[in-house]
């Protein structure tokens, strides 16, 4: 078990799994206790460091070697219609009554997610990430880039707002997508894309640390599979 509530909130926050209520609670904890604030900064830095582990390309001959290792006869086709129609004993599954408990837990989880998501979608937009920007009146567009993968399409736009920077996303996602920028040991997520699916329109303020002139790279991942990167630069749009 996690030792205390702030720890639980901090861990969920760095994983992009904290809802708006939890985010508000965490903000209060961080504002009230410098020790918690320091711990939160440390966890975020560690998480960003771990997230920066590079993905190596798979060996070029892996596909060929797998093909060569496959038996010449195809998988028994008689099983195909059965797969979709009934639950089968799985290779790694052990028999036992836990399946009924798991099925019940699944129903409870799905119901919980339904109500949770419903509540989240009803929340005002500015409460969804805890860092959304309310006003666009003083925003100056610096750069934009098109995102176009099967599970997410739209436009990512970088704005200058006073001394700060923000990024807006307008588009649609059909599955939970993780997207973030890592800069100076800080990881800033586009939390909405991981929490909800459908049409999206939101803006996120970037940390103050992001002030340099080099390009800002956003990483997009869908359930462990990298989709790609989008780079925004601070050169003004003409």
């Amino acid at each position: 078990m996690l030792e205390d509530r702030p720890q639980e909130l901090m861990q969920a926050a760095i994983d992009g799994e904290l809802d708006a209520t939890g985010q508000s609670e965490l903000t209060r904890c961080v504002d009230a206790d410098p020790l918690v604030a320091q711990q939160y900064a440390d966890w975020r830095a560690l998480s960003a460091r771990l997230d920066a582990i590079p993905l190596e390309p798979a060996p070029a001959d892996l596909l060929i070697q797998i093909r060569a290792a496959l038996p010449p006869v195809a998988v028994p086709s008689v099983a195909a219609p059965l797969v979709a129609l009934r639950l089968r004993r799985r290779w790694y599954a052990a028999p036992g009554s836990w399946r009924y408990a798991a099925a019940f837990a699944g129903v409870v989880l799905v119901a919980g997610l339904f109500f949770y998501r419903g509540a989240e979608l009803d929340a005002p937009l500015d409460q969804m990430t805890g860092t959304l920007v309310r006003s666009r009146s003083a925003a100056v567009e610096l750069d934009h880039a098109r995102v176009d993968w099967p599970a997410v399409q739209g436009q990512l736009t970088l704005y200058q707002e006073g001394a700060g920077l923000s990024v807006a996303f307008e588009g649609h996602n059909s599955a939970p997508i993780q997207a973030w920028v890592v800069y100076g040991g800080e990881k800033t997520p586009l939390a909405n894309l991981n929490k909800t699916v459908g049409n999206q329109s939101f803006k996120v303020a970037l940390p103050e640390a992001i002030r340099a002139t080099e390009p800002i790279e956003w990483v997009f991942v869908q359930e462990g599979t990298p989709l790609g990167q989008v780079t925004l630069s601070r050169a003004p749009v003409h």
Binding site: D42, I53, A58, L63, P76, S77
Partner: protein, 178 residues
């Protein structure tokens, strides 16, 4: 528009090799990288990835469609990596060799001091902790997907991930001499 995994699995069951190729191309990079961080060197990771896809091919008819394909695939990856580490450990016990905790040459070739030190710290974690770090920070799975892959409760994932990060923090601090 990419074809859904479940459709590809059904086509595999019907003997469609092209569908299986698509699954390999879609998942070879995450499977290889998970194995690489779990077993610690490129040759073993390639062997693991090859075995994983071979087993998927042979057992695809046993895939339970109530789960997501990738969680089944990643569970096989974890198990195969575990098996390989067990064999390596058994070999070391028989021959009296000690396992080398230093990063392999490929990790050094990656250059970044960060990657080397993280690899070194990963090798000092228990397998359980290493698995959650890999699922979360290499494959970027959600808590729900991690729980499905590991076949444990969500709260177990959170607790295990927190413990693993504490250990990583301590190991990386020690390595820095903090």
């Amino acid at each position: 528009m990419s074809v859904d995994d479940t459709v590809l699995v059904q086509r595999c069951c019907a003997g469609d090799r092209a569908a299986f190729d698509t699954l390999i191309l879609r998942y070879q990079t995450p499977v290889y990288n998970a194995a690489l961080r779990l077993v610690g060197n490129a040759d073993d990771a390639k062997d693991v990835a090859q075995t994983v896809f071979l087993k998927v091919f042979l057992h695809v008819a046993d895939f339970d469609p109530q789960y997501r394909f990738f969680s089944w695939l990643y569970r096989i990856t974890l198990n195969e990596s575990h098996n390989l580490l067990g064999k390596r450990r058994g070999y070391a016990e028989i021959t009296g060799e000690e396992l080398d905790p230093r990063p392999g040459p490929e990790a050094q070739a990656e250059g970044g001091e960060t990657v080397q030190s993280i690899d070194l710290a990963l090798r000092q974690l228990s397998l359980e902790h290493r698995q959650v770090i890999v699922l979360r920070h290499v494959l970027h799975l959600s808590y729900e997907a991690m729980a499905e892959t590991l076949q444990v409760a969500d709260k177990t994932v959170k607790s295990r991930l927190h413990s693993a990060r504490q250990r990583m923090r301590d190991l990386l601090s020690l390595e820095r001499g903090v």
